[in-house]
Amino acid sequence: MKSLRRLNSARHEVEVHEFGRGEPLLFLHGAGGLLGVESFLEQLGREFKVVAPHLPGYGESTGGELIEDVFDAVLFYHELMDELGIPAAHVVGHSMGGMLAAELAAFDIHRVKRLVLVSPAGFWLDRHPIPDFFAADFKELPALLFHDPGSAVAKLLMMTPDDPQALTTMYVERAKRLAMATKLLWPIPERGLKKRAYRIAAPTLLLWGESDRLIPKAYAGEFQRHIRDCRYEAIEGAAHMVMYEKPEEFCRRVLAFLKQ
């Protein structure tokens, strides 16, 4: 179910997608945004009340100009949880959303029950530089994001329209989304999480696509070093877009962890 929520402060209108009922599970999307083909959210919705908001600058969510750094983004999610009447929730975050989920869990340790970080951003290792996602040509992206760049799912997510008008619209929308992401990730996707991650109290699952080329699995070690209760699992035959590439396996792991 899609709804538009106006936050109390009236600073943002937020496009929120909700699936199922039960304990709340907040899903924070990555830099690419929610694409409307997230079958894994429906699957998770069979056991939880899944809440997937668009970050301002994405979808129909407004007020992107008010979010300029990690602190603004964390505050935004706090306000949204208040608005939705969610005192505490499980939080699943992917890539940029993984970084924000970790920040959320570090900022208010009572607000996040269990934390799932899927190929999260947030650290930087000189030994394993993260490729420049923003400079990647559209033709190069599939190889950066997918285990099999020629797979049906890669083609679906990377589809570009032939019609020039539609192509311009797509380009404008993409620029708008990624412009928001640049405020949190440009030019190096590291904003000081290493100072704050020690505070994370929620039991944490790190999930990685085994062949992730964008954020290599070497980064899992950094998260494990900083987060007290933290386990790592990798899914084979998947890369950075693991939940799109292997939705069943992804949901199985997440559900097993959340129901412990």
Binding site: T168, V172, R174, T182, P187
Partner: protein, 433 residues
């Protein structure tokens, strides 16, 4: 009509297979391709050319700022303008310009421009570009989404630093300064003329119109393709009820003059090819970082300075196509007079910034083209805008109040230095290999 001699200072010796072997002339071009010994000769050769342009009667000599590239070797154009201030007397120093969002605090730019203005006796044009996506977001790591806001704040701070009579506090979002108190302050009052070089962002037109700044459209795709941008600019000016003064618009054009059209093709074609296929070989992923252009500018589909520069667009174009499509205005003096008259009239521009040193072009050809232009082209185009007053050129000190550098032979020379420094007039090609 005002004519300016514009140098990019490209690296002239990229390998022949550069385009096949490397993805970009900008941002991540291998440093090993730059030989500092050649660079030493090149800087001196290029400065000689700008000084020659001064002596040939050009109204301005232009330098600009680019980073991490072989297209233009001036990370700091102010250094070049500083050198030129001492060895030129007539031409204005058109620094096009400093990418003001890159400097924190931006009063650094206010200070250096004030220094140049004082040093040159009020010959400075202060250029405030936003800067290309390659330079600002990729090389200097600026967040694209906030670049323009930072630029606008830097602009406000610099103008206040130049004009406010007393020390003041500045509480900006990006720069916070308790004491802003510029020493030296600029010679030109209230401040040097501001020109805004742009690549075709629609916001820049409004900005120029609102502040009465000159807008300089810098594209190397020629006057025929620039028509859309110039029309857009004049539309904004008309809508805002501004004076449609040609001198408020500048345009950059590649120009090459020879004795005949055939000679122009023979002499200049390889260097033009080098310029368009090596100097402008920019990886598409660096051209337009997300957020660098507004949605309006993307929709307007206007080409940026190098945004249309993917050299793939020009695949297969030959000399004749470049000339016919207006990328370059080249040929005999008569051909160039006609081409430029057409360009100037159709764009309605009062300032022409011309690139004479094109790509790999060696000094003797640059000199020939410059000289022919000054003697046989410029005089025929001087009076194209009668009745319009140029309010965007520097107001320099009167000659009798202008200090000049002492002649070299009056200065103390190092004992025993009989041979003296070598002039850079020799062929650089000789030192390669």
């Amino acid at each position: 009509m005002k004519f300016h001699w514009f140098h990019l200072m490209p690296y002239r010796f990229l390998p022949d297979d550069f385009k096949q072997k490397y993805r970009s002339v900008w941002v991540d071009i291998p440093r090993s391709l730059y030989d500092p010994k050649i660079g030493h000769r090149l800087y001196n050769e290029y400065l000689d050319q700008l000084e020659f342009a001064d002596r040939m009667g050009f109204d301005g000599i232009c330098v600009n700022e680019h980073h991490q590239n072989a297209y233009g070797l001036m990370p700091s154009p102010n250094i070049m303008a500083g050198v030129l201030a001492r060895r030129t007397q007539n031409a204005n120093l058109v620094v096009l310009g400093n990418s003001i969002a890159l400097y924190n605090p931006p009063i650094r730019v206010a200070e250096e421009f004030a220094m140049l203005d004082v040093l040159s006796g009020g010959r400075l044009v202060a250029g405030f570009p936003v800067g290309t996506s390659m330079d600002t977001t990729f090389c200097y790591g600026e967040v694209p989404a906030t670049l323009r806001e930072k630029y606008l704040e830097a602009h406000d701070l610099i103008i206040r630093a130049w004009t406010e009579p007393e020390c003041f506090a500045f509480n900006g979002k990006y720069a916070k300064l308790r004491y802003v108190n510029l020493w030296p302050r600029p010679l030109q009052q209230p401040h040097p003329p501001v020109w805004v070089p742009g690549g075709g962002s629609v916001e820049t037109w409004d900005f120029c119109a609102d502040h009465d700044y000159q807008y300089s459209f810098l594209s190397y795709f020629g006057y025929k393709q620039a028509k859309k941008v110039a029309d857009g600019y004049w539309e904004v000016m008309a809508r805002k009820g501004k004076e449609l003064n040609p001198y408020s618009l500048g345009f950059a054009q590649v120009v090459a003059v020879a004795n005949t059209d055939q000679e122009a093709e023979r002499d200049y074609a390889p260097h033009m090819d080098y310029f368009y296929n090596r100097c402008l070989h920019v990886y598409i992923g660096f051209v337009d970082a997300p957020g660098y252009r507004s949605a309006n500018s993307i929709r307007a589909g206007l080409a940026g300075q190098v945004t249309k520069s993917g050299s793939w667009k020009r695949e297969g174009l030959a000399w004749r196509d470049f000339v016919e499509q207006g990328y370059i205005v080249a040929g005999s003096p008569r051909t160039v007079v006609e081409g430029l008259r057409d360009a100037i009239k159709s764009l309605r521009c009062g300032h022409l910034m011309m690139l004479f040193q094109i790509g790999s072009m060696p000094p003797e050809l640059v000199r020939k083209s410059t000289e022919l232009f000054a003697r046989e082209v410029m005089p025929h185009l001087r009076d194209l805008w009668p009745g319009h007053r140029d309010r965007w050129s520097p107001k320099r000190l009167p000659l009798e109040e202008t200090a000049v550098a002492a002649p070299l032979d009056l200065q103390v020379t190092r004992a025993g230095n009989k041979s003296g420094p070598r002039s850079s007039a020799g062929r650089i090609g000789e030192v390669v290999k």
